[in-house]
Symmetry: D2
Subunit: 381 residues, 4 copies
């Protein structure tokens, strides 16, 4: 009886100064199913080696170019099982294409690509390759998001009538991209980030969460974008109306200039007989309000939760899990799917794991918001 082999991950991006690279490493390895073994962490060989050392990998597997990584790893008997992409957005597509062409599955940070057209190209490539592709819409990994989704799916609220999602941050309230803030700089540069500013960085999360939990699709949108901070090259604030596939309506708001807010992602869903509220900063609780009867607070890991919610937790009730655990849930699902795929399953990805379809819809969202803002009115999705 052999120990379960850990899946081998090769990371692109995540060099010194990166925020999300180390988060991917930690999340990927948390549940003991994945190990980072290679990386093209930076386009500087020296910086890539430094990052690799920090991650504890073999120095020979810290590459300065993702193409080189793919090429070299293919030759190894213990080569990587999949690539994870954690770079700025404009590199998502070429890296993904390179991996897929080499027959290597892909896990990607969001948004899927830099433009909607790129997303369609990627969708085609994924389909053609037949390879697993996952997208880290982190918030989909929270147990209470899974519980909310299960409640909607089971019709617990009656027909959904109204949704409201917002994602407010304040960290870009000043023009920090002009003063050397690396995270702000690439996010404010259309060449690296794509055309969506706040809507690309956080609006896509809000949009995904809404569709993921409600089970509904946005069918049309009326959005207004602003560049609140003078000189900023991309939107930093958005308000949008939504129409949904079942006739419900709603709103989506996001902002990076909501001074004082940290990472306030909040979703509310109103049905005929009750409503749900999830706040990412308080992720171990789901507030459930009934038209008739007391308000309820559902707690993570409690035995009365839906099976989908219980499936993803690691600790007993009252022992809070957080952002990193949510992230790790997606990696765990991806890892399990990858093993199935390696064993021959052609459609191993579970419906709970965001993939290329979510990626395309997210990029379509950005595209439609920009078009609606230009027209100052409704556009079809």
């Amino acid at each position: 009886m052999a120990a379960t082999r850990k899946l081998r991950m090769g990371m692109v991006g995540g060099g010194p100064g990166a925020f999300i690279g180390p988060v991917h490493r930690l999340a990927a390895e948390m549940d003991g199913k994945i190990q980072v073994v290679a990386g093209a962490f930076s386009q500087s060989a020296e910086r890539s080696r430094a990052a690799g050392e920090r991650f504890g990998i073999d120095p020979g597997r810290a590459y300065a170019d993702y193409r080189q990584m793919i090429e070299e790893e293919r030759k190894r008997s213990d080569g990587i099982d999949f690539v994870v992409i954690t770079t700025p957005n404009h590199l998502h597509l070429p890296i993904a294409l390179a991996a897929l062409e080499a027959g290597i599955p892909v896990m990607s940070d969001k948004p899927a690509t830099a433009t909607y057209e790129e997303a369609l190209a990627l969708e085609a490539a994924v389909a053609k390759s037949g390879l697993p592709y996952g997208l880290t819409h982190t918030y989909a990994g929270y147990a209470m998001v899974r519980h909310a989704r299960a409640m909607c799916s089971a019709g617990r609220l009656g027909k959904i009538r109204k949704v409201a999602v917002e994602y407010f941050q304040g960290w870009m309230s000043k023009p920090i991209e002009a003063t050397g803030h690396k995270q702000a700089a690439w996010r404010s540069d259309p060449a690296q980030n794509g055309q969506g500013g706040s809507i690309g960085d956080i609006g896509t999360h809000a949009f995904h969460l809404l569709e993921y939990v409600s089970g509904l699709h946005v069918t049309s949108i009326n959005a207004t974008l602003r560049n609140v901070v003078e000189g900023r090259r991309l939107d930093d604030d958005c308000n949008a109306f939504l129409r949904l596939s079942n006739g419900a309506a709603g709103s989506l708001a996001c902002s990076q200039v909501a001074a004082g807010e940290l990472n306030e992602l909040r979703l509310r869903i109103y049905g005929e007989t009750g409503s749900l509220e999830f706040r990412q900063q308080d992720p171990n609780r789901l507030i459930v309000k009934w038209l008739d009867g007391p308000e309820e607070i559902h707690h993570a890991a409690a035995p009365y939760l839906s099976a989908d919610a219980l499936a993803v937790g690691r600790t007993p009730p009252g022992h809070p899990e957080g952002y990193l655990e949510a992230f790790a849930v997606l990696y765990r699902e991806f890892a399990d799917a990858l093993v199935s795929w390696q064993e021959g399953d052609k459609n191993p990805l579970p419906p709970t794991l965001p993939g290329i379809e979510a990626g395309v819809r997210g990029m379509r969202f950005i595209d439609r918001v920009i078009e609606s803002n230009r027209k100052e009115g409704w556009v079809e999705f």
Copy 2:
């Protein structure tokens, strides 16, 4: 030295089954400056007498018609000092006009009238009469609303960039107007209520609170209305984008079909350096979040509050005041203004007390929302 004379109030509306009439009585009398002495509580003489008895007034002063009340009370040496209007909206204008023409000041429930045209007519009548006119936008009476207003006015948040106000209720989630619910019935009937459903009943409160606290004016609006409950004759749900006089933008949402919500009026204002949040259901706290520095919770009656906030409280910190106390603040301010006016002051109304200007803007709001919804796009305010 004589005891301070209480001002004598004559009420129109507030008969058996009314919600808001007894609230006006209680609020008016709370601070010991006003006493209800007369009323045309119902158009049924019998029901008016029954209400009068409940209010403890002289049976001879419970009238079945407001015109009769005005006529009879004018003849008395101890006649009413002012009229308060608590009827359905379509009666607001004729009653106010009758009082003003008789030289009697008016305190009115909101909205000021049933239509924008009526509001302009009322504005002219108030101006012509030179009489005090107050409007009970209750939420303006909360100490923490006063504090928020003072903070904005003092520039504590820097330039305001973004506002978000919402007023969600769930009580009309079912077609209760069709099954004998009196409060729902007149609110759903355009003939009694005017053209605005949720936007007239609660949207005007949200709109007023936003302008009252921020000190800004809405300059254009893009709104979408829905009648979510089948067969309902007026809107029960609204989402609106706003542009404000200083270039800021924002959103306003209201709903009577947000199942599970009770009376969730919530205002957030974002400036360059910080933000405010007020929730009507938690009215003794104001949440203040700074771009740099810890989040703060300001508590009612605490010595660090602004003078305007401290001026209206009655209890020490930690002893919660509520909706009725907020209501009573408006009556207290109106009473003080009335005494000044009786003593010769031509402009006795304090800027903190909503009056005819707020009334006209509120009716304009309803008018503009309906027009924007019709056009499916932006309209000037």
Copy 3:
């Protein structure tokens, strides 16, 4: 058909600078059943007149001595229906005795007297007189306290196993009694206040709330008192263990030197199958946690509440009531009882209104805490 006559109240205490006097006036009059018409507001004739003027009473009925008030009012056909006592504690007994001897019912601020012996004397006098006597343990007037009490009484939590009550304030964190703070000065003076400092002022509230809601009696107590602020003459901090009549156990803590706390009265009751939590600073909600099943929040005025809770509210769900409304509930119950008594009912006081029994138990509590602290161990109650 005549208008309902308001009951006439004569107040002792409440002169200029008083906190609780105006609160009693407001609370007594809130529901339209009582009117203050006379008072011995201060022992200075001038200050009493000034207070009377503020309250809007006939100047001839503002007395400088409570004995004079009682004597004069008895002679009037429209004399007072009852006396309310709002003085420092050492005057509670003589005033109450004077009123009872004159055949006048009494409503008293808490604690009932200055010492346990006095409380026994008062109990005997009340019994002998056959007159209604009420005690304003304000917190018993909250709707959600009534709801909690009804839930315990109905066995909703199973057998009660554990209680925890605490009442934390910070306003006496510095020796403010030495620097002219009137409220602190008399509360720190054993001659005016009696032997209990924090335990008399707020500990008695906590004790009463615990017994009132749980329906249990404290049977023994183990308490430790401290005078945290140097030079303070009475305790300002207390921790106590409790044993209760059904075998349950618990804790009671109070403090006036819990810096940063405002008026943090919080009660938790744990039964076999669930628990309750009430916080006075958030009084329109009751938190109910179940051993099996989601946590619940019960909201004031919601239709699913117990009848006792619904009986005392004035506003619909989501329209917060506060401290003054709770206070007024006790006055309303006292007024209704007084009318019944005037109509011949010998036992008109409802079980929901604290009376002399609660007063005696509260004074016994102070006595037992001091004794336990002296002995450094358990004492029978």
Copy 4:
């Protein structure tokens, strides 16, 4: 340049059905500095192998006996760097002694041993060995606990006057140890658990947190224990008064029969000028209340936090960390200390990491509580 070597961990306990074993694995490996490579997960060889497989270790290093593990691993050039103990309490001492005698550092779950006498023996063994010994008082790893500790240490609250710590759970509200609940069974068995029931399992956490944050020592204690559930062999509920080394006083309460509570560990510390509140179920916030000035909420990872708090976080503000991250902080500190020790540092353990001193004090706490309960009065610590 070589990749940083991960430290090799050998686990005792953590076999199938264990709760805390997998938590240790996850926490130990989270920051990429440690890898589990060996274990004596169960006394059944088969079950130990099954657990080892789940953890992904070499089957040859899954032992059925901790002594065997120690012996075999010592022989290997790639043998374990330290042992972690996750068994029931009665095995803590023998395992720790075996490891220390073999020259292997120890990380242990709490409490340190099963009895106070054992703790003294362990303390002597640790001292004699000169080896690093860490104790996983998990809650000491939260960033906001570190922040609270730093605030106390810096005197931000003035002199500490009062503390209140409580740890309430409800999961043992029924006699589940009698019906096959493994976690409840050994915790209720004095032979496996030691003499402290709730006080050993959770009271020691509360006690440690209090001393850890306040920087004060408990000097005497007055405690009362109960076995609330009939037939239970150990205490399931405790209330205790405390006296602290600077003259402050306080309370400690813990319960496993607080029905409806999940894992409600809450610490409040009151100083002359302000107070702190930490709730484990809301661990990314610290509530700070000032005697003068607004209440504050300090958020994890915010730049205004103390250096100690910022040192332990992994994610930006608004991205919640939880229980597992707190746990991992202790392992990260232990790993760093171990590397220093391997490089020759004789005193590598940082003061922020609980060690044998905390272990001895925790066992002394249990001993003193039991003695105080027996005496029904105060005992010296």
